[in-house]
Subunit: 356 residues, 2 copies
DNA sequence: CTGTTAGCGCGTTCAG
DNA sequence: CTGAACGCGCTAACAG
């Protein structure tokens, strides 16, 4: 009925004068095959333009050679870099990538089944909170390989995690602000449930404590990883004349809000007030003034997640926690006055790059 | 050997007291099944948390229910919007999405075989020049469903295309510049092979002709869809004191280059010279001054491509050419002085949005 | 080193 | 309206 003229492994076998098993061995580089036979088979393959049927080999081998990516959103700027890292690593390892975005639809436990699972992938990369804890636990109990990106494992599981050194980065940033001479340093916190945000606040607090600076609750406000939210908070601060030397926003988007709010209230950045962020998003070097921030290696995070997942699939083992190092990027919004700095992991942009 | 505790269709059949054939009918909503039987089967399915094995059904049905996206790059800003449109449309139609980026490795005809094909997808969305003409022709001859995004079909094929109304958009922009009072309008062309760029230049020429303005070859330079290239061209123009009222860049990235070059040479935008772009990229509203541009509905392009591809797969028919309408977005870089404008398809940003 | 053969899980005839 | 039986294309034992 459906003989869609596909050339199958049998055609190749016939053409090469061997059995299908041998062809299979050549394709999968398994077992010992005479170089001579290999050559015959390969020339038959290319002569016939044979491509193995994925469905059939999945069925027979019980492995899809496909990795799935589940993400809450596809729209954020950093997603580009994340996806690039993941995609490259996936194909370098001869896997295939399936992508699914939940688009932040609240996936209650009983909600629609995840379109990605062991029926079509060998394992999943789960980004932040795209999959709820219960589902994660269930899959994990079933022994399904998964790696978590930017979220910790649900209680009771031991899923491998990949994320940034958020706390260290935040500490480094606050210390830089202190070195700039700032003392009253405000913090724009991220969304309540966000783990990156949480660790960054932790770092902020520790840095202040380490320098015997008080943590003033009035100086901690909502940034929500969101421009609008940050604007509101900062506008209120400044209208109320709260004494602030510098604002450390938990991410670059809220830093953008802080920048705009400051300008609209008539404060100059960095002369009247410093504003810094975290992430080094794509936009950040183009802001006015160019934003001092912590560069987070998001592409590397993607690559690392893939590497861990493949290791997990193939060996059953993976690093429980991978913390990726961050880097302080000094531009102009922090009020740093061209003093020399001896710290490692610090980048100054080339002049050409940041005077847009 | 490998009885990995998967629950199969047989388990469901047993639990529901029917045959596997009936379960299959229920799952695929085929044939006539008693409502009562349907209910029994479905409760068995959910009780056992049964999920059909993709490989098996692909093998049996010869359809993957998967769509592939091939793109030269994953890093451009507009790719976010494109991917969002594609991804949403794919899942709304109960398909699955496989993503592959060539990363602009020059794929010669004999190069590595495309990892996406009829062995793992039902059809492909091919973005710009990610797949060479020869391969495209071969796949097309084999009757493999494909839709082209932002490129025309290779000679000899009739592959459906989806792209923007580039020419119209460019005409509208040039006419706006003329309405602003500009006469000496320069054009920053895109890369040689790029079809969008080509049509935009066409529109530029036609608009000038329609207004009896001369097309001065000196005013057409390379922009290359690239900031650096555009900077070089514009810097030379301005240093040579070429008389220019306005620069129409073929895309927003080259417009950014024009903006920077103008500033560095000491011209004020828009007072001394106007600069406009095409695309309405993410950055454009944040530039100084906010960029007047043509908004291109990239997300819609993605959705449309998916719709066409699915139609092609299911019915064998599709629109040969879909041209998506563009929209003039007037901000501040064009020198428009708050005159009222009666044209349709024109957007003025809300004040809040563009005074960053 | 290579061939033979038995499924993998499911969709789809064809009888009943 | 339902069930039995076959085969999709391939891999993985097991022989030889």
């Amino acid at each position: 009925m459906n003989n869609r003229s596909r050339t199958t492994i049998a055609d190749v076998a016939r053409q090469a004068g061997v059995s299908t098993a041998t062809v299979s061995r050549v394709i999968n580089k398994m077992g010992n095959v005479t170089p001579d036979t290999i050559a015959r088979v390969q020339s038959a393959i290319s002569a016939l333009e044979y491509v193995p049927h994925t469905g059939a080999r999945v069925l027979a081998s019980n492995r899809t050679h496909t990795l799935g990516l589940v993400t809450p959103t596809i729209s954020d700027l950093f997603f580009i870099d994340l996806l690039r890292g993941i995609e490259q690593a996936v194909y370098e390892n001869d896997y295939t990538l399936l992508v699914y975005a939940t688009h932040e639809r609240p996936l209650d436990d009983t909600g629609p089944t995840l379109p990605l699972g062991r029926h079509n992938t060998d394992g999943l990369i789960v980004f932040t909170n795209s999959v709820d804890d219960e589902r994660l636990r269930k899959l994990h109990r079933g022994g399904f390989p998964m790696v978590l990106l930017h979220r910790s494992p649900p209680a009771g599981t031991t899923l491998p995690c990949v994320t940034f050194e958020n706390k260290n980065g935040a500490r480094q940033m606050v210390e830089h602000l202190i070195a700039c001479g700032h003392r009253r340093i405000a913090f724009l916190a991220g969304p309540a449930g966000n783990e990156d945000a949480c660790w960054r606040e932790q770092g902020y607090r520790e840095a202040l404590a380490a320098h015997h600076l008080p943590v003033d609750p009035l100086l901690i406000g909502q940034g929500g990883f969101n421009e609008g939210v940050a604007m509101t908070t900062v506008t209120l601060w400044l209208r109320d004349n709260v004494a602030i030397d510098a604002i450390f926003a938990a991410d670059d988007e809220s830093a953008r809000g802080a920048l705009r709010a400051s300008r609209e209230v008539g404060r100059r950045v960095p002369d009247d007030i410093a504003v810094v962020g975290f992430d080094d998003a794509l936009l950040s070097q183009y802001l006015t003034p160019p934003l001092t921030t912590i560069r987070a290696p998001i592409e590397l995070a993607g690559r690392t997640a893939v590497a861990q997942l493949i290791r997990l699939i193939q060996t059953g083992q993976a690093e429980a926690l991978t913390l990726l190092p961050t880097e302080l990027v000094i531009r102009q919004s922090c009020g740093w006055q061209n003093r020399s700095l001896k710290t490692s992991r610090v980048t100054h942009d080339q002049p050409l790059e940041d005077n847009s």
